[in-house]
Symmetry: C2
Subunit: 148 residues, 2 copies
């Protein structure tokens, strides 16, 4: 049985200072009350890796220095069986007229299809004191206070 995703909008990056997601008009009603949240989780389709070779990839090296060979379930490799990207981003501004949600940044190409948006909920999505391998430990936190 095949499961199909629905494209609900696109990531637009006209320039570095203006990054937004453009919701398809027929899905705009699904954004009601999104203004009550500061952050969202965007699920996007990694179009450039939706091919048999990338989808058969099970292991590679994360780009971090000294990273060891890792399974794609232990990395954010874009070449993976289901090419879905996941990004936690901050909402900067919501513009109803143009169906745009301006965000602070996203590690996805211009015109990438968005397949779902979820509100960031700290009680289920936030983990304090999570453990990661040594090669990820030097990464700079994005929305996290530095450890005291």
């Amino acid at each position: 049985m095949k499961f199909y995703v629905t494209t609900v909008g696109y990531i637009r990056k006209p320039d570095v200072s203006s990054i937004f997601i453009e919701i398809a008009p027929q899905y705009w009603d699904a954004t009601l009350k999104l203004d009550k949240f500061s952050h969202i989780i965007i699920l996007w389709w990694i179009t450039g890796h939706d091919n048999p070779t990338s989808r058969a990839n099970l292991q590679d090296y994360p780009p971090q220095e000294s990273a060891e060979l890792s399974g794609v379930f232990a990395s954010r490799s874009p070449a993976r069986p289901t090419p879905i990207g996941l990004s936690v981003v901050a909402i900067k501004k919501i513009v109803k007229e143009s169906h745009r949600i301006y965000i602070d940044q996203i590690d996805a190409h211009d015109n990438t299809p968005i397949i779902d948006i979820k509100p960031y909920m700290p009680f289920s999505d936030k983990v304090d004191n999570s453990k990661v391998p040594s090669w990820f430990r030097d990464n700079v936190p994005r929305y996290t206070k530095m450890a005291e």
Copy 2:
């Protein structure tokens, strides 16, 4: 253009004290180094809502008391255009022989298809001081220290 997801395993809940994900044998290699992480993000297919009615749903009421009508992008409603569930869970044990990853809990039914697994990375996935609407504020944090 249609994008389809790959089922890489299933959620199994034989009883409340034993919850695990069973990775399909051909995808087990993708778990290499997952033992270096404490938490994972599981993307699963909400099979029971993969129908035209649920996928056309754009707004409903979150189950929390006093919740206001919300767009599905501002809630975790299972009835949404792309029926993907997202759960952050703790890894309890990885058993190579049976291709099982035991987890602490998950809000999904027995035998739910898993479409992707990502390691939880605090530098990109953790948000301190996120804002949510009032009806979600009383939710008990799962993996978060109580606010001081």
